[in-house]
Symmetry: C2
Subunit: 233 residues, 2 copies
DNA sequence: CAGTGGTCTAGACCACTAG
DNA sequence: TAGTGGTCTAGACCACTGA
């Protein structure tokens, strides 16, 4: 385990356990260096991680403080809060509608940077949150990378399987979103009415080496969809 | 000017000028160290900045590569791409509907962490993109921080004025969003129909020292609203 | 002006990739 | 196995905050 990762985890746990609120002051750098017996840069690296994650903010000349917003029930749009945490917190579940190997659409091939003759796994599923429909999801996985999928895997967390099971390292994602009206088919799956609002999200996920491996199109139920983003400016 | 900031700017310009595409390889760390005559950590810091900004990705054992998505016309939801760039690229304009000093609503006071007896600047404006209505925006600025505003300022970029004019340093923002249907009033302002879809975004902006100074509620025209997010996972 | 976080260095060693 | 980026150190110096 990386030292800075470990320090970040410890600090986050500490904040969680002691239920520290926005603005609570953490120990100064000197103390953290001594406490964990590491150099200044290592502590700094850990704090940068937490800052990116939206857990703390640092003020030069003053100290390190807890950052925590007041609202519950919002899903993080940047999945930097951890997959497992999300799954637990929101009791997500899935129902699989389709799973097969096929040729990609032109659109999918373009986004995955493959030929329309290459194979992809096609996954279509509905996701539920607290027992309500959350979204309708269609995904294309490059088969030469994600070599095997089955119904059991995709009912659980696909990404967890990709990292743990296949030993692949996920790097980054490009996500595009806009708002529109539900088509009849989407409305039926989400148990809403045609013409109701929807949030439509397309994402291209890449491995750490930059190779795209998943192109997904997700239509969210507007009633259930509350998102948040913590940004540094 | 910070060295790592300068290096990051230079590299970004280089990529822009040479129109490097996704996957293009940049010089290795050694070369960048020599080229800019700085230590390894400094180059690393510059590259971390660019990585966070979604400009490059690094692969251990392999190199540093350009990251660039293929879609145009999408607005970045994390304003980490720079305000000025956005304004230029999208030809944003504003029409002011209201500007006054008043007492905050309970909601605004709560989010700004002030008393309902404190003064706030209230701003209501419509923003246009390429001459079309983009959004309807209501903002509350803590008056003790943002001490002065006038119509001219808020017709241009408020944030630019806050940093340049008032010399304040903006730190981070918490943003909450969901999808809903337009009310009659919103529809009128946005030149759409009541019941049409909308993207509704609430943000709380904080100074670098953690103090909230702006609570804003924005309703986007669904036709014009295309957003993207570049995330690291 | 004491104390805090931010920048930067020089160098050791490690983990991974690709030929 | 040579070359690449990632981690970590110890320490100097700088910029900012708050009493």
């Amino acid at each position: 385990m990386l030292k800075y990762q470990h320090i970040a985890d410890e600090l986050e746990n500490y904040i969680e356990e002691h239920k520290l609120q926005q603005g609570a002051k953490l120990p100064v750098l000197q103390d953290l260096m001594r406490q964990f017996n590491v150099s200044k840069s290592t502590v700094t690296k850990a704090l940068e991680l937490l800052e990116k994650k939206g857990v703390v903010f640092q003020v030069r000349g003053s100290g390190i403080f807890v950052r925590r917003h007041k609202r519950n029930g919002y899903i993080s749009l940047l999945s930097n809060q951890g997959f497992k945490k999300m799954l637990e917190e929101f009791q997500l579940a899935s129902k699989v509608i389709a799973l097969d190997v096929r040729k990609p659409t032109k659109e999918a091939a373009l986004n995955l940077n493959i030929s329309i003759d290459d194979d992809v796994y096609y996954v279509k599923r509905i996701r539920f949150i607290h027992g309500q429909t959350l979204c309708l999801e269609e995904s294309y996985f490059t088969k030469s990378i994600v070599t095997y999928l089955n119904k059991e895997i995709i009912t659980e967390s696909i990404f967890n399987y990709i990292t743990e099971g296949l030993g692949l390292s996920i790097g980054f994602a490009d996500t595009f979103l806009h708002v529109d009206k539900l088509t009849a088919e989407e409305a039926q799956y989400l148990e809403l009415k045609e013409g109701d609002p929807k949030l439509y999200v397309e994402s291209i996920f890449h491995l750490s080496n930059g190779q795209p491996f998943d192109f997904s199109k997700v239509t969210y139920n507007y009633v259930q969809s509350q998102f948040f983003i913590q940004a540094e400016l």
